[in-house]
């Protein structure tokens, strides 16, 4: 008798959970009001519809760590305030689980899905042809968009140019003529970025030595710190880290030794005021605002938009270097923008070894 009673209690609880689960799902069955299929799958309907945007990050805390992720996260979330849209961001999603997340968004009739990370390219390639009612945005350094695509746009970050700007800053800032680069994992976009740095340094002062180390992962803070220490022992006084959450280790080691770090993609000053001299910013805020406007106006195109030098600028130096150094840097960057200062486009394949 007691066994049956406990079974009854348990089944009742289970049933109530299942019923709540199923009842919420019936809400999704309502048909979605979408315009007829045209060149763009997302059109601004008669009413200003509140769009639903979904994204996912590998990073467990993209709002607060990792320059690239912070910038993207903030850019996307700003759309909530500016347009009143729903922006859902999943965290700590391993690459094999990205597809599941995307399907969840599609099931819930999200209008736009954003892939902010190169590692998600395969999933993007698989998914956008299959789900033509959803618009897919890929932020990547390499993807291409076939001609018959109707529901996707790629924004391609020009990592070499980015690296060149970082290189200009570092070449002018270093006093020991030794510059240090730290990468998370030895992946392709790092190669382009670091090549840009090497070539820019070469163009400004051929005597500058560039040291490159890979931490082997994106988040082991202790390892990042030790790598920075190794380079500091070697005389490096200026650093750039293209990594994830482990960048804190770089900041700590640099601050302790009085070395300077250039922040990645986001103004990292508030996170490490003792170490960050400046940051090379990727203007994702403008990008996402632009995406927002294009989507609302129905003018978003299915192609690869380059994120070139117009989306890159330097953060405030806040007096971290002498005025003349700052002036020299700004001068070089201006000349780089206009093309008066050229950096040779040479990709160093051996970086990844």
């Amino acid at each position: 008798m007691k066994k049956t009673l406990s079974l009854v209690i348990v089944i009742t609880v289970l049933l109530s959970i299942v019923l709540t689960g199923c009842s919420s799902s019936t809400e999704q069955e309502a048909p979605d009001a979408k315009g007829p299929g045209g060149t763009s799958a997302v059109t601004s309907s008669e009413e200003t519809k509140a769009l639903k945007i979904g994204s996912m990050f590998n990073n467990p805390d993209p709002a607060n760590q990792g320059g690239w992720d912070i910038s993207q996260y903030k850019g996307m979330k700003a759309l909530e305030d500016d347009y009143g849209w729903t922006v859902s961001i999943a965290e700590a999603i391993a690459y094999p689980q990205v597809e599941e997340m995307v399907v969840s968004y599609i099931d819930k009739d999200y209008d736009i899905v954003v892939f902010p990370d190169n590692g998600m390219i395969e999933t993007w390639q698989d998914m956008y042809p299959k789900y033509s009612d959803t618009y897919f945005i890929m932020i990547s350094s390499t993807a291409t968009v076939p001609d018959n695509a109707t529901n996707t746009t790629v924004y391609q970050a020009d990592q070499f140019t980015y690296g060149s700007i970082a290189g200009i800053v570092m070449a002018n800032m270093t006093e020991s003529k030794k510059v240090g680069l730290i990468g998370g994992s030895p992946i392709g976009s790092v190669k382009y970025q670091f090549s840009g740095i090497i070539e820019a340094c070469k163009a400004i002062d051929p005597e500058i030595e560039v040291s490159i180390y890979f931490a082997g992962d994106w988040s082991d803070t202790a390892r990042h710190m030790e790598l920075t220490n190794i380079m500091i022992e070697d005389g490096v006084d200026t650093f750039f880290a293209m990594t994830g959450a482990g960048d804190k280790g770089v900041y700590e080691a640099a601050a302790a030794a009085g070395a300077k770090v250039i922040g990645y993609a986001t103004d990292m000053y508030e996170y490490a005021p003792n170490a960050i001299a400046t940051s090379v910013l990727f203007d994702f805020a403008s990008l996402y605002a632009q995406i927002g406007q294009d989507v609302m106006a129905g003018t978003i195109e299915q192609k690869v938009y380059p994120l070139g030098i117009d989306y890159m600028k330097l953060a405030d130096f806040r007096g971290s270097v002498d005025a003349d150094v700052e002036a020299a840097i700004n001068d070089y960057v201006e000349k780089f923008r206009t093309g008066d200062f050229k950096v040779d486009y040479v990709i160093h394949e051996d970086i990844l070894n």
Partner: protein, 364 residues
């Protein structure tokens, strides 16, 4: 020791319900999930989200829609295999904690075969899965030999092998096996024709998942009804008595351990050929670790199935909940570990109470 006053208190209705719930595996798993969800809601409330909404979205993510079922099954399958990888050797008192490493090397083997061998798709797939299974067995060979020849604790050696395997796979995919076109740490992908087919065709459910159920049933039948299965059970219970009865215990240990590693190997091959297509950064989730817990808590090959399902469902739901409600992803980790801890404690509490009850009945 006067026990009668205690006995009269303990024979109360509530106590009886409590102990009987605790002594049914099913009851304990549900209780553990409920307690975890309550704690989750409390943590979410602390963070600022609405606890009711969090619970509702969790259930929605776990149970509603085709997506939930498919992805839950895709999570459940490797967990079941990794649990079998622990369970089968455990019958021979070999505690295989190395499922994760065996799975990763197996995935590597399947990928290597899939990207280098050409031929009829069915043949290539079978060859790749075979390579995966063999690789899993090779991976456990070192801990097995060390135990048989040196008496080394396999818990330790298999944990060590896990790390060695993980780093080894990383070394390969960032070095010799790196896909030159890849933009993150990844190997070449297995061509589409050599991947496990899906059934139903339009879904993501690869046929490997169905095989997993078949394997679990076969193992259950084997353990219960075959002579070898019974010999294994005897050997596990009392090795000396089994040896005296003429059972070649060492052979059983070796075969059971290899069988377990083969299961882990199958999981690795299934993941690569069915889900991820390549070996890349973060491709292997913590199935090996979860499998250890599921094996011990499930108690039998068939008991493993519902438990793996429950854990997979909870995890899928938790991920969905995190995306839709904006609570920190840290809570997903909590939902992975907390049910296991609570489950173990409740189960042992049940055992303890049962033993105390027997104690008191004996004492009367």
């Amino acid at each position: 020791m006067k026990t009668i006053p205690k006995a009269s208190r303990n024979n109360s209705f509530h106590y009886e319900v409590f102990t009987s719930v605790l002594n049914s595996h099913f009851g304990v798993s549900v209780l553990a999930i409920i307690l975890s969800v309550v704690l989750l809601a409390a943590l979410a409330a602390l963070y600022g989200a609405s606890p009711i909404e969090v619970i509702l979205v969790l259930c929605e993510g776990a149970l509603s829609g085709k997506r939930a079922i498919v992805y839950t099954l895709l999570q459940m399958a490797p967990i079941v295999l990794c649990a079998l990888a622990v369970y089968i050797p455990a019958r021979a008192r070999f505690f295989n904690v190395g499922g994760q490493g065996q799975l990763e090397i197996a995935g590597l083997a399947a990928m290597i075969v899939g990207t280098n061998v050409t031929g009829h798709p069915a043949l290539v797939i079978i060859l790749a899965m075979l390579a995966a299974v063999v690789a899993g067995m090779l991976t456990i060979a070192i801990p097995l030999v060390l135990k048989m020849k040196r008496g080394a604790s396999e818990i330790t050696t298999t944990i060590m092998m896990n790390f060695v395997c993980t780093y080894f796979v990383y070394a390969l995919i960032t070095g010799p096996l790196k896909d030159p076109g890849a933009f993150y740490a990844a190997s070449k992908g297995v061509p589409k024709e050599y991947l496990l087919p899906n059934f139903p065709v339009n879904s993501q459910l690869n046929i490997g998942v169905y095989f997993v159920f078949v394997i679990a049933i076969i193992v259950a039948l084997f353990m219960k009804y075959t002579v070898s299965g019974m010999k294994l059970k005897a050997a596990g219970m009392n090795m000396d008595a089994a040896k005296a009865a003429g059972i070649s215990v060492n052979r059983l240990i070796v075969l059971a351990t290899l069988a377990g590693a083969a299961c882990a190997g199958f999981a690795g091959g299934m993941e690569v050929l069915g889900v991820t297509e390549r070996i890349a950064e973060g491709w292997a989730l913590a199935w090996g670790t979860t499998g250890i817990a599921v094996a011990h808590l499930g108690g039998s090959p068939l008991g493993i199935l519902p438990l793996a399902f429950i854990l997979a469902v909870v995890e899928t739901g938790a991920r969905y909940m995190q995306a839709m409600t904006g609570v920190p992803s840290a809570l997903v980790n909590v939902m992975q570990g907390l049910p296991v801890v609570i489950y173990v404690c409740l189960l042992s509490l049940g055992h303890l109470l049962k033993m105390k009850k027997i104690d008191m009945k004996v004492g009367e």
